[in-house]
């Protein structure tokens, strides 16, 4: 079924009886060409591009609960391509280009809103490093604009520009950055996957891998064993737990990251603002709530909820740049489990076990990568070699010395 204005119009006149479910509830087949473990944004995107771009339709996406209940529904919906290193930036720029056409491609309103993403700086060295990053972005085909203090003041006159600790001296703006509706991304991909013949198997938790002679032949699930030519794991957050079932240790720790929404306010923040020095970033949803977050809690966790000190810390960060939000009340707070990798960058790669593939390590930045992650993972599964823009996301890069460490933090996952 194709959604359109005409469809809405005719349905309105005929009692809205023509709408059906967006996807089937199929029973698992015995074998598939490709099994994707994890029906989150990345897993569903992978299945979609496998079917659409690479003509592989015999695909199952396995999900332990309901689709889209993990990090694709827990993030703060920001999309951007403002990375610096050559291993990262072309990948995220591909993602941004896919975002720009995603609603048309999926025939689903994913509400991509390119309202501009602004990173604030507070001193000269920081300004220098932002100029460097902006130039790197433009070399990779992205957009970047350096704003001085007046430029920021014109956009957000209510910031505390003269704060004695972090006076705001300007910012790096990516005008094409912005937000998207995160649940719609999962639903839109799922709907299209289903149309293309992909089986989405919900409540079908993977309990172990079938590995015979060093070759992965399928998975044992809550609904029985399912065999496949290739098994592609895509469960960022739970990567450590799932890959342990295949006997693999990863350069990843699982951490909890919290996010928050305030009560609905009148429109005030029209873009996305990040205050890196105070560990705070914010945007405003169409419903009016301030959507914000900050640092990860910093200790290993699979609990999907965090502790109070980080909530206090994040809110202090918000107060530091926007003292006026002090009276706004927090409506909701929640946590998600993120794969923190050893250099802050992700993995899209084969594993040492033949026909077992791995996608994960997205740290706190997986949402913006969703389309490109799916595209490049599908490319890897179809061609057995990495896509050009994802060729550095290898599992063995720590052994070979090819880390992609944007922040230069070293092998300390909770600092990335």
């Amino acid at each position: 079924m194709r959604y359109s204005g005409l469809k809405i119009f005719t349905e309105a006149l005929t009692g809205n009886k023509g709408w059906g479910p967006n996807w089937r509830q199929p029973t698992p087949k015995d074998t598939y060409d490709v099994i994707i473990v994890g029906a989150g944004g990345h897993g569903l995107a992978t299945a979609y591009y496998l079917a659409k771009e690479f003509d592989i339709h015999d695909v199952a996406v396995l999900e332990k609960g309901w689709l889209g209940l993990g990090n694709v529904g827990r993030n703060t919906t920001i999309i951007r391509s403002n990375y610096m290193l050559p291993g990262n930036e072309p990948f995220y720029e591909l993602s941004m280009k896919l975002w720009e056409g995603l609603a048309q491609d999926l025939n689903y309103n994913v509400m991509v809103s390119q309202r501009g993403l602004l990173n604030l700086f507070h001193n000269d060295p920081q300004r220098d490093s932002f100029i460097r990053r902006g130039n790197a972005m433009r070399l990779a085909g992205a957009d970047a604009v350096l704003l001085d203090q007046d430029g920021v003041r014109r956009m957000y006159p209510f910031f505390d520009f003269d704060s004695s600790r972090f006076p705001i001296k300007g910012g790096l703006l990516q005008p094409r950055g912005g937000t998207a509706r995160h649940d719609a991304v999962a639903w839109g991909y799922a709907r299209k996957c289903d149309e293309l013949g992909v089986d989405i198997l919900q409540n079908c938790e993977v309990e172990s891998f079938i590995i015979e002679g060093g070759i992965c032949k399928g998975v044992e699930t809550a609904k029985g064993s399912i065999r496949a030519n290739k098994v592609a794991v895509c469960v960022a957050g739970s990567s450590g737990h799932v890959m342990a079932m295949a006997g693999l240790r990863l350069p990843i720790e699982s951490h909890v990251m919290q996010a928050f929404v305030s009560e609905a306010l009148k429109p005030v923040i029209h873009g996305v603002v990040t205050f890196g020095a105070g560990h705070f970033y914010v945007s405003q949803s169409d419903k009016g709530g301030l959507v914000f977050g900050g640092d990860i809690d910093g200790y290993n966790s699979y609990a999907q909820r965090g502790n109070l000190p980080v909530i206090e810390d994040v809110c202090e960060g918000g107060m530091a740049i926007m003292p006026m939000i002090g009276r706004a009340r927090i409506l909701r707070a929640w946590g998600g489990t993120v794969d923190m990798s050893m250099d802050g960058s992700p993995f899209i790669d084969k594993t040492d076990i033949e026909r077992l593939y791995f996608n994960g390590g997205w740290c706190y930045g997986g949402f913006k990568a969703t389309p490109a992650s799916g595209w490049c993972y599908a490319y890897l599964l179809a061609n057995d070699k990495p896509h050009e823009v994802a060729s550095k996301f290898r599992l063995n890069r720590f052994k070979s010395g090819n880390m992609i460490d944007e922040k230069g933090m070293g092998a300390q996952p909770n600092l990335h």
Partner: protein
């Protein structure tokens, strides 16, 4: 799964934040500490071993990343600056055991 969830609810009721029961100083708020990671970081490989490079790669970069009871290193930065080995559940955040890393290290040394 459900059992773990119910359990975590009682933990929230018991304390609003993680409390680490320091062997010398008693119960302390977790925010006095800095977190390092898996307690296996105490077992530094021997540089004289034949496959030392491989061992150091695994030591530095690979993690077991346990879902369940996790032994981990916390540093009491805003306190007595001792290293602790805390046993904590990564699904519920419940802390079941706290030891001085120094004691454990000495034990290993004496049994060598």
């Amino acid at each position: 799964m459900r059992k773990g969830w119910a359990h975590s609810q009682t933990c929230i009721e018991r304390h609003n934040n993680m409390i680490i029961d320091h062997p010398l100083l008693g119960p302390r708020d977790a925010r006095e500490f800095v977190y390092l990671g898996d307690a296996s970081l105490m077992n530094r490989p021997d540089w004289k071993d034949e496959n030392a490079a491989e061992q150091f790669y695994e030591y530095l970069y690979l993690r077991t990343n346990t879902m369940g009871e996790h032994r981990e290193l916390w540093y009491h930065e805003h306190g007595d600056r001792s290293w602790l080995v805390v046993t904590r559940h990564t699904l519920t955040h419940e802390i079941t055991k706290v030891e001085l890393a120094r004691d454990l290290g000495l034990n290993v040394g004496q049994n060598k």
